[in-house]
Symmetry: C2
Subunit: 430 residues, 2 copies
């Protein structure tokens, strides 16, 4: 975990290369002056968010704030940054923060929660966002070749990077489960995996197919602790290599087959279909296709579980995250997810919303990322580190403010009557 990683400048988020001061932050020059127009823009920004408890500190030290409110301070380093922020806050804040042209004086998560709540409850902001979404914010598509590019962008940054801040047992880059809120990250990821295995009622010998297996930790866990055979599909080459090596080292390679292929190519019959954290990458237009895949591969009495970030109402992924971090990502509503299930009359047996569990998981990740900040900055650069810090903090705020949900959906074929009489068995040993 704590090994050094090599300088990896090949990995980049393509953020405009302004890693030091912004071009016009020469505080002694003309750009340091704050014009009446700058002040107007700052006030307009606060107005757009319906007068939130935020203070904008301009590059000359001047403070623009709503009178009488407790304030978090947002340091804006140059006029062009302010301008970009006003044009499209959801898109540009990320890049500006990443390169240090905006700083937050205080807790980043708390600031983001304030901003998210203000944005969500401001009709003015919602109108602007809707217009911008219509015009600019088209998530990249997820046909097989594009999926490969999109997934490469995110998951092939380097296993070393993720090792710094994910749990060090199973490298779970998905929501953990904290039945008791003081579990460690490693305990909570184990609890998540066991919770899913119980929901799926795994029994030795079951044939399991996993769509989107990450670094292989869950397939590994199922094979080792539940005696099942797993075919785990993934299109991230680096993850597959990592997973295979680990399975071989622990002599589980006879039980787990890590397959570098698209979920659309899943072949064979299985007792269990499971997918943890892949649906976000599938894309709205492909849920029916995913349903077809499940229908093709699931045995008559088969069980399934899909674990995914979701929404209470349809909304695109934040524009900056979609652009820099997660191309092609889209968190669906339960209604949208029904495209997977309805066509083949799958029966939804159980939905559990673990929203606050993801906030807690992300808190652990952010804390670890910050602990390894120096090494990460040395291996990548400051903008990369700050972008990831913002992404994790913003995701926490998304979950704590209720803009993001985490759904686990258990399903089976509509004709399968082999159902437990209660869910008490999920909780017997807790």
């Amino acid at each position: 975990m704590d090994k050094g990683i090599q300088k990896n400048k090949a990995v980049s988020l393509n953020i405009p290369a302004i890693t030091g001061n912004a071009p016009d932050t020469d505080v002694t020059g003309a750009a340091a002056r704050v014009s009446p127009f700058d002040r107007w823009m700052a006030r307009k920004l606060l107005d757009l968010l319906d007068e939130p408890p935020l203070a904008l500190v301009l590059w000359n030290g001047e403070v623009i704030a709503c009178p009488g409110k407790p304030v978090t301070r947002v340091l804006i380093r140059d006029g062009e940054a302010l301008n970009q922020l006003l044009i499209n806050p959801a898109l540009h804040f990320g890049d500006l923060y990443s390169v240090g042209r905006i700083e937050i004086d205080g807790d980043l998560v708390k600031f983001l929660e304030i901003a998210y709540r203000a944005a969500a409850s401001s009709p003015k902001y919602q109108r602007l966002k809707a217009a911008q979404t219509r015009l600019f914010n088209r998530p990249r598509t997820n046909r097989p070749a594009e999926s490969r590019d999109n997934i490469h962008h995110h998951y092939d940054i380097g296993n070393d990077f993720y090792e710094f801040w994910l749990d060090n047992e199973a490298m779970q880059y998905t929501c953990a489960y904290f039945p008791a809120p003081d579990l460690t990250l490693e305990q909570a990821q184990r609890a998540k995996m066991d919770h899913v295995c119980r929901k799926l009622r795994l029994k030795p010998g079951d044939r399991v197919v996993e769509a989107g297996g990450g670094w292989g930790g869950f397939a590994h866990h199922m094979a080792r602790h539940y005696g099942v055979r797993v075919a785990s599909y993934n299109i991230s080459h680096q993850q597959i290599v990592y997973a295979r090596e680990k399975a071989k080292a622990e002599r589980l390679d006879g039980m787990v087959d890590y397959i570098e292929d698209d979920y659309r190519n899943i072949a064979g019959e299985f007792d269990v279909f499971v997918s943890i954290g892949m649906l976000e990458h599938v894309g709205r237009d492909h849920y029916g296709e995913l349903g077809d895949v499940i229908d093709r591969c699931l045995a008559p009495d088969g069980r399934g579980l899909i674990h995914s970030i979701g929404r209470n109402k349809p909304e695109l992924m934040n524009a900056w995250i979609e652009k820099r971090i997660f191309p092609g990502a889209y968190p669906p509503t339960l209604r949208e997810m029904m495209d997977i299930f309805e066509k083949h009359e799958f029966s939804v047996l159980d939905v559990e919303n673990l929203r606050l569990h993801y906030a807690k998981t992300l808190n652990h990740w952010l804390e670890r990322l910050n602990r390894h900040a120096e090494k990460i900055e040395a291996a990548y650069d400051m903008a990369f580190l700050r972008a990831w810090r913002l992404y994790l903090a913003g995701s926490i705020a998304g979950f704590t403010t209720g803009s993001l949900q985490l759904f686990q959906i258990v399903f089976t074929r509509g004709s399968n009557n082999d159902l437990p009489w209660s869910r008490a068995y999920l909780y017997r040993e807790e």
Copy 2:
């Protein structure tokens, strides 16, 4: 419970008044003859269901069946019955069975399961049904005045009738909960009510509003065992009278207010919104309105639960049931239910599908109905008794074959972070 009930000919299902022999079942006359056309119709009917393991026994004793299959015998008493059955089986079977022009030789539920499965898997039948649904099968609407008529049709038949076969403690005309499958009906209805109360995390002093309170048993249970104050809305006059009397007799009338009014008129602020078995009567076009009502009445950290029959894919209620038993009824899919939740960004926390629990509940009801058959026939008539027997048996088959689901959905406002860390508390004492 076991008291005699008075002859109640005013209550009628409006089934054509052929309660004895059908007009052409004079077995000595010309009508007793089976023509080649009759035989063709019988074979066509089996063909429509894709050769199910059924034998059609015609009025002269002749048997038409698919060769080599194990068979349940369907006795068809006259040619016109066969004709009507072929024209629209889903609609006419019910009336023909009710008046005795069709009989089932053997277990009624098993026959219905065979027929439902055959119908569901036969493309020919599905095409016919789709066409007939388009042409004829429009559920009655549920604007307030119509809702009143629709509900009067079903629930104001007479409390005495329901007392014969519902549980004798709380008169729950909704799915019970059998965490152990051998519970009695009374135990399982208590378990259902407690399961719902736990899901809602009721605490003493909570203000609860119930939409569609039936005979008041659940409101009663909440007030008595959880110390909450309940406003229970219902538009069935007979049920309201019954509920008020019972609450007064048990001195709970200070805790429970039974209000004879439409759910759309719910007024005030509440900590909890609950509705058990009303959504089926709300109608597809009114889910948004129901969502508005909930949004208007639910406190910021309020919790809600909706318990409803549902579907895996959109489908109208069986035409005969909609016509004779449940006018205006429609069991929605999860996707359709999201019309309640999405607009106001309610967050779905938990969905549990209790499909087989409803089959078991209905088995208890049918067994009790049959036990009191003589008294019910004396108070109403044979057709009434047989219609209800068919309705309960058909509902069992609907749940066992997976055509019907039972969803319990727990929700809260999207911004409410007062959420339990696990569902283990639901199962602590089981």
